[in-house]
Symmetry: C2
Subunit: 198 residues, 2 copies
């Protein structure tokens, strides 16, 4: 019993999506062919269009179709503060809090030596150029609080402080609504060390 070659090709191509194994890829291929050919064609066009038109913002490195993204073009923002995040999703989360009015730099990754991801892959040169433009005075590091995110923050912090910039990091501590009984010891230890005068 032979599977038609274009079906095999589709299943294998779907496996390039992150988190999709052979069974899921097959299920997706069957679903698209059986129930949603229009969806398959639309996805095909969307992939081609995105792969061709999406580039990186010359200033903040996020995805955009322009040379400079809308956020960086926004004249209302505080150009003296730069917030460094790992991904566009992280940037979106911070935007939703309405607590930050400065500009961003999106690393599009994090340092991860075990996966072979070094300073070049997180566009560190571009960040240094951006942060030392003479206007930026403070860099807020908002990488994740995972081991890799922390290492990335530490590395960037050392690099930028050596160039005379003020560098800060998002506060660590007990989450809002957190009950001490259910918060892990590492978080409480950090909250104790970073305690603030009231």
């Amino acid at each position: 019993m032979k599977t038609p070659s274009s079906l095999t090709l589709l299943t294998e191509s779907l496996r390039t999506l992150p988190g999709i194994g052979p069974k899921s890829a097959q299920r997706m291929a069957y679903h698209l062919l059986q129930h949603d050919r229009d969806g398959a064609l639309q996805l095909s066009r969307a992939l081609a269009q995105a792969a061709e038109t999406i580039r990186h913002c010359a200033l903040c490195n996020t995805f955009t179709e322009q040379v400079i993204c809308d956020t960086c073009q926004d004249g209302e923002r505080d150009t003296t503060v730069l917030c460094v995040v790992e991904t566009p999703s992280d940037q979106l989360m911070i935007e939703q809090t309405l607590t930050f009015k400065g500009l961003y730099f999106v690393l599009m990754g994090r340092l991860s030596p075990l996966d072979g991801i070094g300073p070049k892959d997180i566009h560190l040169e571009k960040l240094i150029t951006r942060a030392t433009d003479g206007v930026v005075s403070e860099v807020v590091l908002a990488t994740n609080f995972t081991n890799e995110g922390e290492a990335t923050a530490h590395y960037i912090s050392e690099t930028l402080k050596a160039r005379g910039l003020r560098v800060s990091r998002l506060a660590r501590g007990v989450p809002v609504g957190g009950e001490l009984e259910y918060v892990d010891a590492g978080t409480i230890a950090r909250a104790m060390l970073d305690r603030r005068a009231t």
Copy 2:
């Protein structure tokens, strides 16, 4: 903060894949644009090609690029027995057991009135035409042993028996390697009712 429109379009198109929610779709879109643009273009081509070239076998209804699929064209098979399965994956599983040398009919679904899937959606007319070709003498129902699969088998069984065909169903019972202590009561009850002389 505005997301570029072709990125939004890509994320929304990825959501048409079964089992993919907004977060996964966004993660996939970012991954493809950041790390695998070639993969995105290849997937785009594979989708377009499959949607254009894949059709249904005129005899067994499975996916194929020809009018009649390779299995149905295979001259070595027993043309008097027809095995009815829900999906091409099910057909593949049965093929792997090497216990069936007849031909197949793939429903490409199952009856599911709650989801609005009726006899027309599982190509019942095509199955009736196929099974009453004068050569087929027995139809083996190998739909899943779920509620919907059982209902589908029952419905097809009634329809085909009314046309004078011999209809059988895969045996139900304790799975190979099963320990009675850990097998559910429904399965044991069925195995007791269907017990065989040794």
